[in-house]
Symmetry: C2
Subunit: 408 residues, 2 copies
């Protein structure tokens, strides 16, 4: 193996692999709520202004500000304007009771809140004509101008935006009921290893249950990918290659990315390395622990990532390389929130390797480690809610030192 590649360089290589090789999968028009978590496929322009009309920000009286001199004035009370109504123009000398969100009547240019009126309650319309004393008010006061949030024809959302509740709420406010999103990518996920047994089957001597498949499929689903699973591949390279090639043809079985686990190291039985012998796939060390050995390339033109075989290495490989690359290339999933935290304990880290430890963020802003550095510790991993990033040039950290933490 060559000189280990840095984490940043390998992430960039994954970004370039995904950008360069896989074509746009196309668009999908979906009802708003089904688009939750997906990436917008096109720019969306506002078909109307928001607010659609000048409206009141308060419950109060709509007035012509010029009607009220500095010392205040007594005005006649007009017909009330509830939200949703189309009011008549406001005559000079009148004040119209108006509710929050209701249309500012033609002629009115300001709102005096009910609290500042005398009396400070709305008169009963059934009780006949009434008057109200109001203080002076500057034009525009408590008026939400039409188009002040967005004007008709303006860019509302840019292509690539991840559709969360607020983005979908905006499209609804614009009267839209569907949205064009990017079709989710399909990933073929293959776990390998003669020692690996499907959960639920019998566990004979020397075997372990496959946790990588479940762990990575869950991670991929959470990241918005469609996942195609095969059974566990045994250690026959030609069979493994045949499985992958079933999903690289032009037909509908074709996937956008292939991910394997295991078989990328330097042992004597490395099925993934052997299967890829005639494919443009590189196996290389990344200066990271766990998850150091990585495979990267294409199989019949489909981007290929070979993750190592331990569960913690799989999760770290996904979180450090594939997930951020998807965020960058597809616009979804969202980047993991990055926090600064203080270490609840001292730790050591190997020189020259970026170490990714698993930790739990406390409410007090400290992070404590879950389990040691071992990449097989899946119970410890299940207690963690964060990845703790220890750069390659750091070998010792004391309790209280600040570290970067990625929230899972």
């Amino acid at each position: 193996m060559s000189v280990p590649r840095s984490v940043a360089a390998h992430r960039q290589a994954v970004v370039e692999l995904l950008t360069g090789v896989s074509a746009d999968r196309g668009k999908l028009r979906l009802p708003l709520l089904e688009a939750l978590g997906k990436a917008l496929a096109v720019d969306v322009y506002a078909p109307l202004s928001l607010p659609p009309f000048d409206n009141s920000q308060m419950d109060g009286f709509a007035v012509r500000s010029a009607d009220i001199p500095d010392g205040g004035a007594e005005l006649r009370v007009a017909e009330p304007v509830p939200a949703g109504a189309a009011p008549a123009a406001l005559k000079p000398g009148f004040a119209a009771p108006i509710m929050t969100g209701a249309v500012i009547p033609e002629g009115a240019d300001a709102v005096v809140p009910i609290e500042k009126a005398t009396p400070n309650a709305f008169p009963d319309p059934a009780a006949g004509e009434a008057v109200v004393v109001l203080p002076s008010v500057a034009p525009g006061t408590y008026v939400r101008d039409s188009g002040s949030d967005i004007g008709k024809g303006e860019l509302a959302l840019v292509a690539g935006t991840r559709m969360g509740p607020a983005q979908l709420g905006l499209l609804a406010a614009l009267g839209l009921t569907t949205v064009e999103v990017r079709k989710p990518w399909r990933v073929l996920l293959v776990t390998t290893g003669d020692e690996v047994v499907e959960p639920g089957k019998e566990l004979t001597a020397g075997k372990i249950f496959d946790s990588n498949g479940t762990l990575l499929e869950a991670s991929m689903r959470q990241a918005g990918l469609d996942v195609v699973r095969t059974g566990i591949s045994d250690d026959d390279p030609s069979k493994l290659l045949a499985v992958l090639q079933r999903h690289t043809g032009p037909a509908e079985d074709r996937v956008d990315v292939i991910v394997t686990t295991g078989g990328v190291s330097k042992g004597a039985y490395e099925v993934v390395r052997q299967a890829m012998a005639n494919q443009p796939v590189e196996f290389l060390p990344v200066a990271m622990q766990p998850g150091g050995p990585q495979g990267l390339g294409t199989v019949e033109g489909v981007p290929f990532l070979g993750f190592p075989g331990n569960p913690v290495s799989c999760l770290v490989s996904f979180e450090m390389f594939l997930r951020p690359a998807l965020s960058q290339v597809l616009g979804t999933p969202a980047q993991r929130p990055v926090l600064k935290a203080r270490l609840a304990e001292s730790l050591t880290s190997p020189e020259g390797k970026h170490q990714v430890r698993r930790g739990t963020m406390g409410a007090d802003g400290t992070v404590r480690m879950e389990g040691g550095a071992g990449s097989h510790l899946v119970h410890a991993l299940a207690r963690a809610n964060a990845l703790v990033q220890i750069p390659g040039d750091v070998t010792e950290l004391a309790e209280g030192d600040e570290v970067e933490v990625w929230m899972l």
Copy 2:
């Protein structure tokens, strides 16, 4: 209205409402991947140890450490032990080629990595008998002990744990294929207002499209709730109450929580307040902006939350009250990650009110505001990725000041 309640006190009131009133909805046994994001219903104990057997942490040679004196020794090479095999016992004077994850043969107690062997490559088993020179090694070196991650019968996951990829991966590693989770709560979501029109319909003068329904349903789905929607309710209180009561009976239409939007303020046409006149529901001001007016209580025993009518107020009400209460009471969704960020601009905030501004976190650790304080600014909201928390006793902040930020 009385003295405004603090944000913390109102959140606590929501927690107590959800804890006290709604009974456990029961459990649901699901295939592992369908449990993603849901909360574990029961404690899970490990049906086997992890690792299930002592195994090698490296590719190398399994040895009896007592066979190798300080200066090293030449040993005869035994049958190789691939991962997944059940090896024969290791005879004294022999070293067995062993792969990462493979069973440590009986008699062996340490592994020497292949890099430290002379020659530093595995001999071809077909080439006949071979020898290898190995340095001395302490007992236990590069051996992962059976049960070192978790022992058989130990608590693997505690009830209430949110099932993410790592937790599901652990259950798979334990050989499990299904898991009992808490049944998701059902929420009835009703948007109100004479001025509000369903997106896709015609927008006449004075009307606006309903964005609250889409925004809150998306938020609730993201938080793992099942959402029941009704159409938009007009401003007839008795009709609204009838709609709610259809979902509070003992039948299968019954929901666990009711959320309405709008009609909780002090205007003349407050349909939710009027509909709740004979229900144990309190309408009160919370010292928060936006989202100050809140309704809280029960309708026929079902917890009820009345949110204000503006989209930003709805989102803030959900994020500040309902979502954290669900996290606390149900174990899911996960708490929002809280960051410290530096303000990219100065701002002012009303005294005595906790202000929740919308912002965008930059890669440089600063946060800039999106839009002003106005609770109708749904386009600005759609550009934001964070809520910026300005406590009630803070009225002015300068550029560079530190604020608490909740990542959306």
